[in-house]
Assembly symmetry: C2
Homo-oligomer: 580 residues x 2
């Protein structure tokens, strides 16, 4: 059996309950999205007492299954006003799984304020005063808590922006070496955590019973099939694209496809893209040596190891992780072409507890408004300090791209449902545009990554510029993603699963092994769609309609160079993704 902790921030009491049977098969995003629908008043203020913060490891997380170290965080989003799930790869996820914790639900707000730390271990959970942690950056929190509790713990925390209730604040988790570098970044969940007076969580899985496996043979067989697929596929195998260049491999790919959003989505190619590319990144890491690493795992048991550690010129550690999304957002999207300037921005986002995508999209909008010039890295860095310090400018930027656009009267704002678009131009990669528009999560590439088929040729090859078939493609990918997010697998396992059918079978078998179900690959879409439906149900009750399932208006009338594409997906196609 798994258990649920309910943490009542109003009186700092914690209760432990057996997970009810209705939630028996739910984990990760499946669990967080269901709790949001079942327990949160849709009309509540995201930062008020009636919102809840939910944290849940995936179903297989903590088991021996490869690359399954994800933990989901959910709440009503202060950024979108709708349902929100964001997940991170971190050892913390596995500790929660091994402790057989289905989820932790934070409720209410401290009656008398203050900051709090939740301590979780095999004997229960307890809230402790944590005013001493207030004002600390994420790395300072990690340093303090690892020193206090030893190296076996996991740490979850927020930075200044979460404390300051900003809608671009994420929730920070440590990586395999204790860095404050892994984020459930999107949708302002750090602000929800801040609104509950919760500065940090410490997890200690010492003496944990481990993940309960109902059918060990089925699990093991599945695990092996999956592992074989991951180690075979060109994208995920050792020495493959993600292992050697990380997600940064995409800079040159997307630039060549004309789909790398540049200078606030004014162009689909960046003349200095190569300065920021994965190839250049690998070169720098190799040349500088020292602490640099091009291959790094965010959580134990990952066989892809797409993370990295970026060194300074003197070889000392600069920042982890130089992800494609982050480098794009704070690089090409701002017209900034200097890898070190981008690294510094990513480092600051980590320290302040910021979503790098929302930060970059927001700074792009601010540059559109003339607050700084495109290409001016030092000015962008200064604006990040504004956010940290919560100056009036920081209060604007810290609340995201939609907010910043409104502050300055900007009409070119690349967001959906209030959330900034990731590093794929939807006028070019039209299936992903359908996902941006229709995902209950707002603009999110991880919600249904049809870029795989449209640009990378994984899982089939689809013309990115075609309209036909994109609703079906997006729906299929959104459902498969929800399945993956629920069970704790990293989305990157999907590259192998899409092309190698035994791998996908293996994934389902690991789930069957743990849950005692007898699902087949045919159940993946059904299970995923049930999650999406719970999310859409919440959004509808919160006031979302099909008018929210749209790309920004300017993309319909502004052609994007160099391909000069506009968004020509008819509204009816958007509406057909989930039907009425």
């Amino acid at each position: 059996m798994t258990k649920i902790f309910r943490v009542n921030m109003a009186d700092q009491s914690v209760t432990e309950e057996e997970a009810p049977s209705k939630w028996a098969l739910l984990g990760g995003r499946g669990f967080t999205s269901r709790v949001i629908m079942d327990e949160i008043t849709p009309g509540c203020h995201p930062l008020g007492p009636n919102n809840k913060l939910v944290m849940a490891p995936g179903i297989v997380t903590g088991s021996a299954a490869a690359t399954s170290g994800r933990v989901s965080v959910g709440a009503k989003s202060p950024l979108t006003g709708g349902t929100k799930e964001s997940n991170a790869g971190t050892p913390v996820s596995q500790m929660l799984g091994r402790l057989r914790i289905k989820g932790v639900i934070f409720e209410n707000q401290p009656a008398n304020g203050g900051w709090w730390l939740l301590q979780i271990g095999k004997d229960g959970a307890e809230l402790l005063p944590a005013d001493d942690l207030a004002g600390k950056s994420t790395s300072e929190v990690n340093e303090t808590l690892f020193e206090r509790y030893g190296n076996r713990i996991g740490v979850v925390c927020i930075g200044s922006t979460g404390e300051n209730l900003m809608s671009m604040a994420g929730v920070c988790f440590n990586d395999t070496e204790g860095r404050a570098s892994r984020f459930a970044a999107r949708g302002g969940l750090g602000a929800v955590m801040g609104s509950k007076g919760l500065k940090a969580i410490v997890v200690d899985a010492t003496g944990a019973p481990g993940v309960e496996v109902k059918n060990r043979d089925v699990f093991r067989a599945g695990e092996r099939k999956m592992l074989s697929a991951l180690q075979t596929h060109d994208v995920t195998k050792p020495g493959g694209a993600l292992n050697t260049l990380g997600t940064e491999v995409l800079i040159n790919v997307m630039n060549e496809a004309g789909g790398l959003p540049t200078r606030n989505f004014r162009s689909g190619s960046f003349e200095d893209a190569n300065n920021l590319s994965g190839e250049t990144l690998a070169d720098i890491i190799r040349e500088r040596g020292g602490m640099g690493k091009s291959t790094h795992a965010c959580s134990p048991g990952c066989v892809i190891e797409c993370s990295n550690i970026y060194p300074r010129a003197d070889g000392s550690e600069f920042v982890s992780v130089m992800e494609y999304e982050s480098v794009w957002a704070l690089g090409a999207n701002l017209g900034v072409n200097d890898m070190d300037e981008v690294a510094e921005m990513i480092r600051l986002c980590n320290e302040f507890g910021l979503d790098t995508i929302e930060a970059g999209v927001t700074l792009g909008v601010a540059m559109e408004a003339g607050i700084a010039q495109f290409g001016d890295g030092p000015a962008a860095i200064a604006l990040l300090y504004d956010i940290d310090e919560a100056t009036p400018t920081g209060r604007i930027l810290g609340n995201g791209a939609t907010f910043t656009g409104k502050a300055f009267g900007v009409t070119r704002v690349p967001t959906v449902k209030g959330q900034g678009m990731p590093a794929y131009e939807p006028r070019v990669v039209k299936g992903l545009g359908v996902t941006y528009a229709t995902s209950p999560q707002g603009a999110d590439h991880t919600a249904g990554y049809s870029n795989a088929q449209e640009i990378l040729g994984v899982g089939g090859k689809v013309d990115p510029s075609a309209v036909e078939g994109k609703a079906d493609l997006s729906r299929t990918m959104q459902a498969a993603t929800a399945f993956i997010d629920a069970h704790g697998y990293c989305l990157f396992t999907a590259f192998a699963m899409l092309d190698i059918s035994s791998g996908m079978e293996g994934m389902v078998e690991t789930v069957n092994g743990i849950l005692g179900t007898d699902w087949t690959v045919d159940d993946v879409g059904r299970v995923g769609m049930e999650i999406l439906e719970s999310e859409r149900e919440f959004n509808a009750a919160a006031g979302f309609t099909k008018a929210d399932d749209r790309l920004p208006e300017f993309m319909t009338y502004e052609p994007l160079p160099p391909l000069n594409e506009v968004n020509n997906i008819p509204d009816a196609v958007m509406d057909s993704v989930f039907g009425e």
Copy 2:
């Protein structure tokens, strides 16, 4: 026949067309709301090229009918994201009516930027460059244009906040003496005007043919009945409440009822209310003498004359108008108890082109966030200058209360559909709360003023604290208001019309006289409801649902002293106002 000017800001061309027969019976709000529904893409960006700004005098406006000098302005609102109509009492309305202009529709945006002036006269309309007017305050624009064109013109303009595309910017019209003091204030229509590069409009009705009256006898008979009612009723008659104390008569009334929102809606009574009361205002005006006037008409032919001119201590002119809403918003709602400090704030709002209600509600939220202390008038004045100067703080505040609440993470934000609440606490005056929640316009007391029945005992006496019957009351008042707004009558005529049936008959007869219709009083609700339906249809297409027809969450769990009432109107009652 009436005509429509279409002003294409993209190429500065103006076309004149005969009003189509489908719009023959529509004027004022009836016209603006219909054009919004028929011609504006619901999903468009409010400040982008696909929004339109519509201006229309009421059906009887420009005729001899008493107190009918209203002009409506409409667009998709940058404040609410929905339909918006806001109207003002001004001689400009009557000039447009006498020129037989059904409406002026501004489309697109200047291809090469710049600021423009539209000149309207009997021979047509023309756009002229107006870069010389940019940056000028409303009174400076009026001064410049009256000097340039002489005293027979009317002037419409925006201040700095409209130029800066801020969502609390209104559209300014001159009063009977040329002051820049009459506003179509609500919903950010000044920002839409600014987004079109339109700084001002000059209207000259010299040689105008006058309002066409289809049946002069019917019109004259109606006009006389209405006039008699207005001159008989205690609220509207010469020497009556509005004539002697203006709208400011309500400060003491609402305070005694426990429904005067104080310090950002933390209390329903203000200990220093009497400092700000209509009685005190009249005393000050009398004592200071000079330019002061307690009785003043906003437009020719008004028999109520509820406006005023507030003098400085030396008798020179300080500001017009000290309205109840404005004095409350910038006084009691901020805990400011000094009439001169409030007058200075109102003066600045006029100069900068701000909605006084949104400004006051926003400053209340800012004080809630600790940006200034409640009661600190000089600090509030300084924040208004921030808005004028578009400092980062001003960019936050200038976009309204909802925006400011989000910037600072405040959950106590008294808005509906993004629009700040006026001077009646909805937890106490529950019928008006239903109007706030359900009006397609957002929180708006003028959208269905059931305070008449609930507190003032006009049009019947209804218990303000009762829930039962409030949906019906709100619906009836919303429909009657839409009728009044469409025909150009001042809403204050309603006090007399509600109690004196011959007055209401007379109003309908004036409309019949002009339009050639044969409506009866029974048609008032139907005509009004058709307007409301066109507004709700646009809102639904723009993404509004019943989740938007709600009062703020905090009012459901926070009792309001001294009566300790919460909002206890069930959602089903809100939804029953307009049904499914």
